[in-house]
């Protein structure tokens, strides 16, 4: 599964994209796995309410299932326009 990061999430984690092997059932499970890895992940995911997630380029929720998903994206609230 590909994970992509944008804006300060990307900066805090220190990379734009990575490939992970995971058995996580939901996005939240995946977040818990990532946070357990290293302090920079712990820091990036410290406040989930400050983050948004997209599954296969569609905005989604943290309790959404990951089955069949190829790309998970984490980023702060958007500031377009």
């Amino acid at each position: 599964m590909d994970i992509v990061y944008f804006a300060w999430v990307r900066e805090r984690i220190g990379l734009p994209k990575e490939r992970v092997e995971t058995q996580a059932v939901t996005v939240m499970d995946l977040v818990t796995e990532l946070k357990a890895r290293e302090p920079r992940y712990e820091a990036a995911f410290a406040d989930i309410s400050a983050l948004r997630v997209a599954l296969d380029q569609e905005l989604s929720e943290f309790d959404a299932p990951l089955e069949g998903v190829r790309e998970v994206a984490f980023f702060p609230p958007m500031t377009g326009g």
Binding site: A7, W8, E71
Partner: protein, 151 residues
């Protein structure tokens, strides 16, 4: 309907002109242009706009299609840039064409409210001091979206 995501500058006048020429049957055309302005506290050198290439085009097309249907627009245009933009540079524009002015205005505001909070762009202010700071999402922008929710 046209949706364009690009790094290079666009020609607002030419786009607005082309849009108005092609908006057959419309009595009302609204455009919005967003321009890089100095930070409220001053000292801005430039703006850096990051986006999510795989998602941006699709997200903008969905938003524009929604607007076309909901307000029965004869045409809609969305252009959004990414990359580094200097003060005074045009960031993006939307244009809407409808039979009546209320629909054209509402559709343009709807597009703007969705672009602000739902399109995958992130703005970073680059200050003359060398400091940088990610622009925080505003509660007011999130609130602005709620007025468009349909039961």
């Amino acid at each position: 309907m046209r949706v364009i995501v690009q790094e290079q500058a666009f020609d607002f006048a030419a786009e607005a002109d082309r849009f108005s020429q092609g908006a057959g049957g419309a009595g009302a055309i609204v455009t919005f242009t967003g321009v890089v302005r100095d930070a409220d506290a001053g000292g801005l050198a430039a703006m850096e706009i990051e986006h999510y290439p795989g998602m941006t085009q699709k997200a903008l097309e969905e938003i524009a299609t929604q607007a076309m249907t909901r307000w029965d627009l004869s045409d809609a245009l969305v252009i959004h840039r990414h990359g580094r933009l200097e003060i005074g540079a045009q960031i993006m524009m939307v244009a809407t064409a409808a039979r009546h002015r209320v629909a054209a205005f509402e559709a343009a505001e709807f597009l703007m409210d969705y672009l602000k909070s739902r399109a995958p762009f992130w703005k970073k202010e680059i200050l003359a001091s060398g400091n940088t700071s990610w622009v925080a999402a505003k509660d007011a922008d999130e609130d602005a979206l709620n007025r468009w929710s349909q039961d």
